[in-house]
């Protein structure tokens, strides 16, 4: 069975073939095939419960697929933990944000990537260096986070989103995954995040965007994959499709 493969001249960065995952009797993913390319924004759309977040979590090392193959740059990947995925250059902005509210902005930005002085077990945190770099990271994204020393608990939803994106974009990641990054944002913040997503692509990174906002998907993405009840049912180059077709594919009114 050949799906409309979104073809392009850029090399494929990640490819999934036959990825399946069940939670007990719930088949969250069934035989998912999809691919995404470096230097492109690839969108995944689908109704609630279609399996988008589950697929994202497989790619970021939280879940391990029951079956199927995933490759990064042609090599098979088998992430046993999120740390493995981060090591491989995959950073994720999760739908539920994944920030620690009681820690400060800079501590969250550097969580598990702390800068230390000294060697081995005797090494101490270099707080000042992390705060300085955190300030630079936040400033370079032009996001209005009050101060990197404030606790995340005190931030608004949009500011938290900005911190999460900042973290994902900040390290030398090859693939940045964003699961509904603008779902809770106002008009201006959404525009800022979209500009940021474009900037990541222009940097040559791959971006995987999960979104329910079809206009946003049409505006931003280079390729779209459609998921329906755990399956990836269609793929299109964004330039060669329309919003109506995507909606029809999502609802099942149109078969792939």
């Amino acid at each position: 069975m050949t799906r409309t493969q979104p073809d392009a001249d850029r090399p494929v960065l990640v490819e999934a073939r036959g990825v399946s995952l069940a939670f007990g009797s719930v088949k969250a993913l069934t035989d998912v095939d999809l691919s995404l390319r470096a230097g492109e924004i690839t969108a995944i759309v689908g109704d609630n419960g279609a399996g988008k977040s589950t697929f994202v979590r497989c790619l970021s090392g939280i879940h391990r697929p029951d079956a199927g193959v995933m490759t990064l740059d042609g090599a098979d990947i088998d992430f046993r933990s999120p740390e493995d995925a981060r090591e491989a250059g995959i950073e994720t902005v999760h739908q539920n944000l994944a920030l620690v509210e009681d820690l400060t902005v800079w501590q969250n930005l550097f969580l598990n990537r702390e800068i230390v002085r000294g060697l081995g077990p005797a090494s101490l945190l270099n707080r000042r260096a992390m705060q300085r770099q955190a300030r630079e990271m936040v400033a370079s994204l032009a996001v209005n986070v009050p101060a990197v020393t404030s606790r995340v608990r005190r931030l608004s939803g949009g500011q938290r989103q900005a911190v999460a994106i900042c973290r994902a974009a900040g390290f030398s990641s090859r693939l940045v995954i964003m699961d509904e990054p603008t779902a809770a944002l106002g008009v201006q913040e959404t525009a800022r995040v979209e500009a940021l997503i474009r900037r990541l692509r222009d940097d040559g990174r791959a971006v995987l965007l999960v979104s329910h906002n079809f206009e946003q998907v049409m505006r931003l993405s280079d390729a779209v994959w459609v998921m329906r009840s755990g399956r990836c049912v269609a793929g299109r180059r964004t330039a060669q499709t329309t919003g109506q077709e995507i909606v029809a594919l999502v609802t099942g009114a149109q078969a792939a």
Binding site: P82, D84, N96, L99, R113, L124, L125, R127
Partner: protein
């Protein structure tokens, strides 16, 4: 009908009060004082000061050098245990086995001593016994994914049972000039055990706030999902905090043997209650993610001072647990306002 007054620039500005209209300032400072969450965080130090003043007014020997020295020495064991407890609580867990592990460590110490082992070996064995008990519990919590509460409740039972089995229920007298010096002498007015407890607290503070491990402990307690998503291993963190708590229980065992002059298979339950109480008084969130070391240390001093003061006033010993319980519940009530 009066026409509205002409708006001229030279007319004194009446409407916006320049003082009242300034955002923040006075109201902000006032809000800081009335902010209950601030009080919750400072419950232990503030309580300590109030307690010192009240007891001093009622009995002038309370703050005498001799009594302060005695209180600090009496607090040393509790400080060490509370620091260990803090690490467990910071991850959202609790170590109910601290006192029993200490008892077990003390029994191991006494057994080695009775068999003629040199003192350093006895000390190392007590530390190792504590570490082992903690490590096993940590592995069961972390790898076995069983609730902290249940695992350490089991640990409590196992460790105190083992202490009885190993000692056959009998105490061993430990008469050692070194231990005697440790528990009765010091540098100037400050006892060696106090210095030791202080050093433990300082090291713990550095560990919690100036190492990657400490940040990961707070992250794991604050949001397990977020910590996991960044690649932090909850299993490793849990294993480590209970190992730390066990090791400190082993250290407390040495201090206990030095203080009592014997290793007894006693229950030492008040140490468990007081260690949890000190942590709560210290403003550490029982939900995990928020912790200090200074807070629980102040909490331990407060509880020791409370017991000491009541004794000085001639209040029956039987009332002391009642007082401790009341203070702890009050402190827990204050933490409701923590933000």
């Amino acid at each position: 009908m009066a026409s509205p007054p002409p708006l001229s620039p030279d007319r004194p500005d009446v409407s916006p009060d320049p003082v009242l209209d300034q955002p923040g300032r006075r109201p902000a400072r006032l809000a800081r004082v009335t902010d209950v969450s601030l009080w919750a965080e400072w419950a232990a130090p503030v309580g300590l000061v109030i307690l010192a003043v009240v007891f001093q007014l009622m009995n002038s020997t309370f703050l005498s050098l001799g009594n302060v020295k005695a209180m600090l020495v009496a607090a040393a064991i509790l400080v060490v245990l509370s620091v260990g407890q803090t690490f467990a609580v910071a991850t959202g867990g609790i170590d109910l086995s601290v006192a029993s592990t200490m008892t077990f460590g003390a029994i191991v110490f006494g057994l080695a001593y009775a068999k003629g082992a040199p003192l350093p070996v006895c000390c190392l064995l007590a530390l190792a016994a504590g570490l082992l008990v903690g490590l096993v519990q940590g592995l069961v919590v972390g790898r076995g994914r069983i609730t902290d509460f249940i695992v350490t409740l089991g640990g409590l039972s196992v460790a105190s049972g083992l202490a009885l089995v190993v000692s056959d229920g009998k105490p061993t007298t430990v008469i050692s000039p070194f231990l005697l010096r440790l528990s009765t002498q010091g540098v100037g007015p400050v006892g060696y055990t106090v210095i030791l407890a202080l050093a433990v607290a300082l090291l713990a503070h550095v560990l919690l706030f100036h190492t990657r491990f400490g940040t990961h402990v707070l992250a794991a307690g604050g949001s397990p999902e977020a910590a996991t998503a960044t690649g932090i291993s909850l299993a490793n963190i849990k294993t480590a905090v209970y190992a730390i708590s066990g090791l400190l229980s082993g250290l407390a065992a040495i201090l206990l043997v030095a203080r009592v002059g014997a290793s007894e298979p006693a229950a030492n339950m008040q140490f468990l209650l007081n260690s949890v109480a000190a942590v709560v008084l210290g403003g550490v969130s029982l939900m995990g993610g928020r912790a200090t070391i200074a807070g629980p240390v102040a909490g331990a001093l407060l509880l020791t001072g409370l017991t000491n003061g009541l004794t000085l006033l001639g209040v029956s010993q039987y009332y002391q647990p009642v007082a401790v319980g009341a203070v702890v519940v009050l402190a827990a009530f204050l933490t409701r306002f923590q933000r």
